[in-house]
């Protein structure tokens, strides 16, 4: 039933009696413009789109332009323009309006995700082109999630008032997994090594959640690049992949991927020289900078490093516009490659402006200070690359990129810094259970980009049976606009050591800290901490009748410690989080006694070496030494001494090793400790994504030395019950650490090799250490 013609403004409908005459003579003067067939769009709107006004002369060209403008509005499925006598008639058929968009037949992907992908919306205008685009988007979505054979057909359901319902009928087809990946022609590296590098994995049961075990041509292409890069970094200059093919199995269930490679010979570097036409740059000086020596194994990454260092050297020597090109001459007899780096003068380009775009929370200076270029400087790509690394180092952005946009003059460029913010704040509730603390509740607020100024703020409350803690930390990374990290902490700890040493210790205080880099690998951080410690014991423990150990009873009550200190840290490892090569070390010293009641000097030295035989077999040797001594006659208080055992010395209970009062079986803590831990990470066969690492460990060390005063009875004779000797303790075992969603969790299974008879040991420990 035809809808009633709505709008009052619509022109009265002339009856189209005469069929339209022959196509209009080339030019017709238009008396009136008549619009027919429009329902929703009013005539006035259509007329306003037409470049023709009543009284104009019209020729086929303007007609054609009018037709095209009307089509471009996407509002009409069909448009006819012809002359009827003196009238110009515009006959339109409007595109229907979409009433609903529904999906049928989707199981693998939720309707929510499909709806996000589709552009066409209810109440929007239906056009074939837009629907086909959406179909293409849906096919792409299915292909990415591994259903290559999915087919999608759009269906239209006509409704009254020129409206339609759009239905996407989806036939998902079957998930095309990967049955096998085999590699032919590889001698240097085993199939297993190469498969480890590849992202495409064979479909296995435990890879249920990962989408890497479904066939995806892009991913295979990416794998080819990875493998080529791997070979090129191991001397195989001539390496190439002959073919990488995925054949669908007869039952169309999954694919078999076969890759044939041609390794070629392994090359070393031959003569590596630098040539430059510019007299002022002397080649010998540049030659010395090259990170490549004759005879080294050929590695493509080293070439990039060399280009980088040459450009940077020329830049800092004042030659900003430098273009470095490596030229290879391989000679096949002795498998060496001679490389010549041509350093020539590049194009003189200056940075006109640096625009920062996309920072919805981080303030402009916080980003701009990471960019190593200023406006007006000479453009230098190496500095741009390093600035990009700085931005990623901030950790505030999901993506950050720096591009060049042509400036207002040929020798000017605009540097555009594009960032996409990511949430940097976390409000996390944690509940943990560890053999040590029975039950821990943890509420913490962390914000790594506070007020968009890059400041770091942490507030945490944690309640466990052994330790209750309130902690507040604030750090400004660029204090006073300099490369100076300044911050302060406030904390209140309460320790209940009654199971181990029958005293409770409460500490409330704060610290201010300031740290700065000395050179590439070392940083010096200074601090001043002021705290009030209170040691309490169960009542009656220290009375005359009580059997309390004299070492403990003497230190009840509260005391103020005011201690400046410093830490000199070195880190020359390849990866600060999980080092597999290099060494690191630290020297920490705190001088308690600048005012306050406590006078002691506490020194700790630590040195770690890492060597990864392969990616999975990493040997780490960590040595550490600690000594605390009172001065100006003061003894070392119990809460300042070292308590070894538990998580820092596996195999022994917390404070399980070191001087002890046999009578009360309390651990008294030690003034000195030393330890050597050797750990070998071994592969455990589980896939990398699960983040499970297993390692064998051997901890060897000792702890001892107590102020003499605590070793004597009230009458001055040595007290037989206080035992303290620097005997050797050792334990070995297996440690499993798992990066679980609730944070890292560690299981230690240990076997004691050597101990003192009075030490307390344990064979199993489970602890979750939330990094703080």
């Amino acid at each position: 039933q035809e809808a009633p013609a709505p709008a009052a403004e619509a022109e009265p409908q002339p009856q189209a009696e005469a069929a339209p005459q022959a196509p209009p003579s080339p030019t017709v003067t238009v008396a009136r413009v008549v619009v027919r067939g429009n329902q929703r769009i009013d005539t006035q709107t259509i007329a306003s789109y037409l470049p023709i006004q009543p009284g104009d002369t019209v020729d086929p060209a303007t007609l054609d332009v009018a037709l095209r403008t009307l089509y471009r509005t996407d509002l009409f499925s069909d448009v006819q323009i012809f002359a009827e006598g003196a009238d110009l008639v515009v006959e339109v058929v409007e595109n229907p309006v979409i009433n609903q968009v529904t999906f049928e037949g989707n199981e693998a992907i939720t309707e929510e995700k499909l709806r996000e992908e589709v552009q066409i919306r209810p109440r929007g205008v239906y056009t074939r082109a837009r629907v086909l685009q959406d179909v293409q988007r849906l096919v792409e979505l299915y292909r990415r999630s591994g259903r290559i054979t999915a087919t999608i057909t759009p269906k239209i359901v006509q409704l009254s008032q020129n409206r339609v319902d759009l239905v996407f009928e989806i036939d998902e087809g079957v998930a095309t997994g990967i049955r096998s990946i085999n590699i032919l022609g590889n001698e240097a590296f085993s199939d297993r090594d190469l498969r480890d590098i590849m992202v495409t994995k064979t479909s296995r049961l435990w890879r249920l959640f990962s989408s890497n075990d479904v066939y995806d041509p892009d991913r295979l292409e990416y794998d080819r690049e990875q493998i080529t890069k791997h070979y090129r970094n191991n001397g195989y200059f001539d390496f190439r992949i002959v073919s990488a093919v995925a054949e669908l199995s007869p039952d169309r269930e999954d694919f078999a991927v076969t890759m044939t490679v041609d390794e070629g010979a392994q090359f070393n570097f031959g003569r590596v020289t630098v040539e430059t036409a510019n007299e002022r740059l002397n080649p010998e000086f540049l030659q010395a900078l090259l990170p490549i020596r004759e005879g080294d194994l050929y590695q493509v990454d080293r070439i990039e490093e060399a280009v980088d260092s040459l450009t940077f050297a020329a830049g800092s020597a004042g030659y900003a516009f430098v273009d470095v090109r490596p030229e290879y001459t391989p000679n096949r007899e002795n498998n060496t490659i001679d490389v010549v780096f041509h350093v020539s003068e590049g194009q003189r380009v200056y940075v006109e402006r640096i625009d920062i775009v996309g920072n919805t929370r981080t303030l402009d200076p916080v980003i701009r200070r990471e960019i190593m270029l200023a406006e007006g400087d000479a453009f230098n790509q190496v500095l741009v690359n390093r600035s990009e690394l700085n931005l990623q180092g901030l950790g505030f952005f999901a993506e950050s990129s720096i591009e060049n946009v042509p400036g207002s003059a040929p020798d000017r460029t605009v540097v555009q810094v594009q960032v996409q913010e990511q949430p940097t704040g976390e409000l996390s509730f944690g509940a943990g259970f560890s053999s040590l603390e029975s039950f821990v509740i943890d509420v913490s607020v962390t914000e790594r980009n506070f007020r968009g100024r890059g400041q770091n703020l942490v507030a945490r409350v944690s309640y466990g049976s052994l330790r209750q803690q309130i902690d507040f930390r604030f750090t400004e990374p660029k204090f006073l606009g300099r490369d100076l990290r300044a911050g302060f902490d406030l904390y209140h700890y309460r320790y209940d050591y009654s199971d181990f040493s029958s005293f409770n210790w409460q500490s409330t205080g704060g610290a201010v800290r300031l740290s700065w880099p000395l050179n590439g690998i070392s940083t010096l951080s200074t601090r001043y901490s002021l705290r009030q410690d209170e040691v309490t014991v169960p009542d009656g423990y220290c009375d005359a009748s009580g059997l309390g150990s004299q070492a403990l009873c003497e230190q009840l009550g509260s005391v103020i410690t005011s201690a400046p200190g410093y830490t000199l840290a070195f880190n020359a490892t390849n990866n600060p989080v999980r080092p597999t090569r290099g060494w690191s070390g630290a020297l920490r010293q705190d001088f308690a006694g600048l005012g306050g009641d406590v006078h002691s000097i506490r020194t700790e030295i630590e040195a770690n070496f890492y060597h990864g035989f392969t990616e999975n077999f990493v040997l780490s040797v960590e040595g550490s030494l600690g000594y605390v001594a009172g001065w100006s006659g003061d003894p070392v208080r119990i809460n300042d001494r070292f308590f070894r055992g538990g998580s820092n010395f596996r195999g022994f209970e917390t404070a399980g090793m070191g001087p002890r009062d046999l009578l009360t079986r309390d651990s008294l803590g030690a003034n000195f400790y030393s330890q050597l831990t050797t750990e070998l990470t071994v592969p455990n066969g589980l896939p990398e994504e699960y983040g499970v690492r297993t390692s064998l460990f051997l901890d060897v060390g000792t702890a001892g030395l107590l102020d003499d005063r605590y070793k004597l009875l009230s009458n001055g004779m040595p007290d037989p019950n206080i035992v303290d000797n620097l005997g050797l303790r050792a334990a070995a075992g297996l440690s499993v650490s798992w990066r679980s969603p609730m944070g890292p969790i560690r299981f230690d299974f240990s076997q004691i090799l050597a101990k003192e008879d009075y030490d307390r040991t344990e064979t199993f420990r489970f602890s979750s250490t939330t990094p703080f």
């Binding site: 991913r219 990416y222 900003a320 000479a378 996390s428 989080v577 969603p741």
Partner: protein
């Protein structure tokens, strides 16, 4: 220990700005020899400036300007020839403290809660998401 050296502004290649000869060089020859000027005077288009600066930064100290040369070249508007070349270096400059006043601007500030927690209650799951580089790569921890 060695400072971090930064070279900013104009970088001379062969001819130095100081080698420009008064009366001989014209606007075109200066353009070819030195390239376009770092800065043109705000209200006097016939005055060009070439400014270059070297800064040195020791560990945590602020970057200090260790060397600055500014060359002011003025052209005769009629003949386009160089009228005057004026070279200045660090000593000619003087320390003019920055005025603390700022002209006010509008715009919605971040509310305290927005600043503190861009995303209340969002728990960041390490490493298990699947949105990776083309077709996916082993998640880096």
């Amino acid at each position: 220990c060695a400072p971090v050296v930064g070279r900013h502004g104009f970088q001379p290649i062969d001819t130095q700005p100081a080698d420009i000869v008064v009366g001989q060089d014209t606007r075109e020859t200066v353009m070819t020899k030195l390239g376009s000027p770092s800065l043109v005077s705000t209200f006097e288009p016939n005055t060009w400036f070439y400014i270059s600066q070297v800064t040195e930064r020791y560990t945590y100290h602020k970057a200090e300007v260790s060397q600055r040369n500014v060359t002011e070249i003025t052209f005769d508007p009629a003949t386009q020839r160089v009228l005057e070349v004026n070279n200045l270096d660090l000593e000619d400059g003087q320390d003019v403290g920055m005025n603390g006043r700022v002209t006010p601007t509008r715009g919605r500030q971040l509310t305290i809660l927005e600043q503190l927690l861009g995303n209340v209650g969002r728990q960041r799951l390490p490493g298990l998401e699947d949105d990776m580089v083309p077709g996916g790569q082993r998640p880096r921890d």
